[in-house]
Amino acid sequence: MNSLARWTALLVLVAGCAGPKETIVLLPNPAGQETAVTVTQADRQVVLSQPYAAARVSRSGTEAFASSARQVQATYGQALAAQPLPPAQFTLFFVENKDELTEESKRIVDSVFAEIARRPVADVIVIGHTDTVGNDAANDALSRQRADVVRAAFAARGLAADKVVTIGRGKRELAVPTGDGVAEPRNRRVEILVR
């Protein structure tokens, strides 16, 4: 064996001993928010905070590098193609102090069903809210009632009740912040997540 072949064999051997090689790439955030991933190996930490910032980790340490959309597609294309659809959110509004949907909101229900139909196994979360008129107990009950009304309306259109989880949040999460005792139509709502 000449010396070049010997060195090559040694390099291959060393590379083979290097153990698992791991790569982490931060992807751009579609909503444009600031995001980051921290990569911690033993006592060393690398922070990835720019789109396509990447780290390669092996037994010999962590090395930062810049990846690209093309490299990500080549390595992770199949994983990304299997990503579930992100949850779709809808908001339905109610007539004051009642569990009755406004006319416009009745039309939004059609969009909810179109979204459910797009997904092979949709599950639906229905979260009821109220405005700040009335005490907590009354609003908790009303918010649950509103969520139940929506579930019943969905059931009437053929959506199995076991696919729907209802939650009542009362006046704890206002869409429009107000003082107590304020009638605010935009807070009398039910949020629907189709996942």
Binding site: I24, L26, A79, Q83, P86
Partner: protein, 151 residues
């Protein structure tokens, strides 16, 4: 005599039933398979289940894909995880309070490729979600990223 015995027995049975229903609540599903192609398996408590679309997942489940497989799951906090071919992904720990978004999510990629979109747990508290690989711990701050582990 029969009557005096039957009441405590009935009470004990009620207690067991209550305990079982609490148990059931504690072992509620943590997510669901939404996308599956090719060979996908779920290892659960010593059994292997086919990883079909719609399967509800439990904490401690291990998802495996074959050479032609890929799988996408939605967790209860809206995190999205999807793995490419020849991957092994463990859902090691998952707790989530839907009212407050408090919780904890630890996943582990032993092999293969993984794409992650973090959900409400990481949004509420950046320390509350990690993805581990054989030699690193990834901390997640409201984020989309990909990871690969080559053997």
């Amino acid at each position: 005599m029969r009557r005096t015995f039957s009441r405590p027995v009935a009470r004990a049975l009620l207690g067991v039933a209550t305990a079982l229903s609490l148990c059931h609540a504690a072992h509620a599903d943590v997510g669901q398979i939404k996308v599956a192609t090719g060979q996908v398996f779920v290892d659960r408590k010593g059994q292997t289940l086919p990883g079909r679309v719609g399967l509800l997942l439990e904490a401690d489940d291990v998802l495996r894909t074959g050479a032609d497989g890929s799988v996408g799951i939605t967790m209860r906090d809206n995190s999205l995880l999807s793995a490419g071919p020849n991957s092994i992904l463990s859902l090691e720990h998952f707790e989530f309070d839907p009212t407050t978004s408090d919780g904890r999510f630890d996943a582990r990629l032993r092999r293969g490729t993984l794409a992650v979109v973090s959900g409400r747990i990481a949004k509420k508290s950046p320390q509350a979600m990690t993805v581990r690989t054989p030699s690193t711990v990834l901390g997640v701050r409201g984020t989309e990223f990909v990871v690969s582990v080559d053997e």
